[in-house]
């Protein structure tokens, strides 16, 4: 568990400023501190929280707010499926905790760890996930609260909009180690740019499976070449 916590530390340089920013933005949109914390504790999903607050402040109908923010989170269902081979044996209670704390950072860190050390026991896998969750989700909530209370003391010229893209690229780049991984990444990027015009979240839902198929296809193809029948 300590391992998971330690390896999560780099993400704090993004999580903390982003949590602060969410606190500030949500207060500016007219919410009270309980509501701001409600978002960060009950929803616990950065990108969709920003989406929801933005749409609420524009007075968008609630149903559209909910649908758009959920669309942003649809990728979590793909994460959920890809964790089954690793955590499928866990108890229902443990799975519920994993589901609650499943964000991009905890998910990617854990799956990288599981792939690197495939012989870990279920307990060790769950402990790693829990460590990452405590180290990332806790600071997210605290930073939100600080942002909401400190408010405008935070400078807004920090180009924070780009903190998330940079972290995500930094998380993925070290994983691009085989032709199959490169193919999955490349196809997903091209498809995402082609389908960028689709309503929020939907382009991703087409692009990501295409990338995954490309990865699987290249994997089969490389295996066949390596050992000719």
């Amino acid at each position: 568990m300590v391992h998971g916590m330690v390896q999560s530390i780099p993400f704090l340089i993004v999580i903390i400023p982003f949590g602060l920013l969410f606190g500030v933005v949500a207060m500016e949109a007219g919410m009270d501190i309980l509501q701001v914390m409600g978002f960060s504790i009950l929803v616990l999903a950065g990108a969709s929280q920003f989406t929801a607050v933005q749409l609420i402040s524009e007075n968008t109908p609630a149903i559209i707010v909910v649908i758009s923010a959920l669309a942003v989170n649809l990728r979590m269902a793909m994460y959920s499926a890809s964790l089954v081979p690793w955590l499928g044996e866990a108890s229902n209670r443990q799975k519920a905790w994993v589901a609650y704390s499943m964000i991009d950072q905890t998910y990617v860190l854990s799956i990288q760890h599981y792939e690197k050390y495939p012989r870990l026991t279920l307990t060790q896998r769950l402990a790693y996930f829990a460590g990452a969750a405590i180290a990332v989700c806790g600071p997210w909530m605290i930073a939100t609260w600080l942002g909401a209370t400190l408010g405008n003391a935070i400078p807004d010229d920090m180009a924070l909009d780009f903190a998330v893209p940079i972290t995500f690229i930094a998380m993925i780049a070290p994983m691009l180690r085989t032709p199959a991984h490169l193919a999955a990444c490349f196809v997903a990027i091209v498809a995402a740019l082609l389908f960028a015009g689709m309503p929020s979240g939907l382009g991703l839902l087409v692009a990501a499976p295409l990338g995954m198929m490309a990865g699987a296809y290249v994997e089969v193809w490389t295996e066949k070449r390596r050992k000719p029948a």
Partner: protein, 110 residues
Amino acid sequence: MSGGYSDLQIWIVIVILGIGTFLLRWSFLGSLGNREIPEWALRMLRYTPVAVLPALVAPLVTWPAATGGEPDPARLSAAAATLIVGILTRNVIAAIIAGAGTLALMLYLL
């Protein structure tokens, strides 16, 4: 209160969004249990992170909201620096620092 939203309406949005997000996260992990997953599906699922995150990021890099959707040399070079350093060093912190440094430098220079 901002616009037409009452406190209660905001809470309803928060609770529904919380439940919906939890169900998305729980979906496969919670319902499939330890049933066998077919080989072809496992093969695809292995590429989930390297397909989902790049697909999520690509439009944000190409058409950043902060510049009104105009491609921006500072953000493009920051993304490239992050990627290159990440692939070469296999180190997340080094990649983040390279990206943030490049962005700060380019925004300062341009």
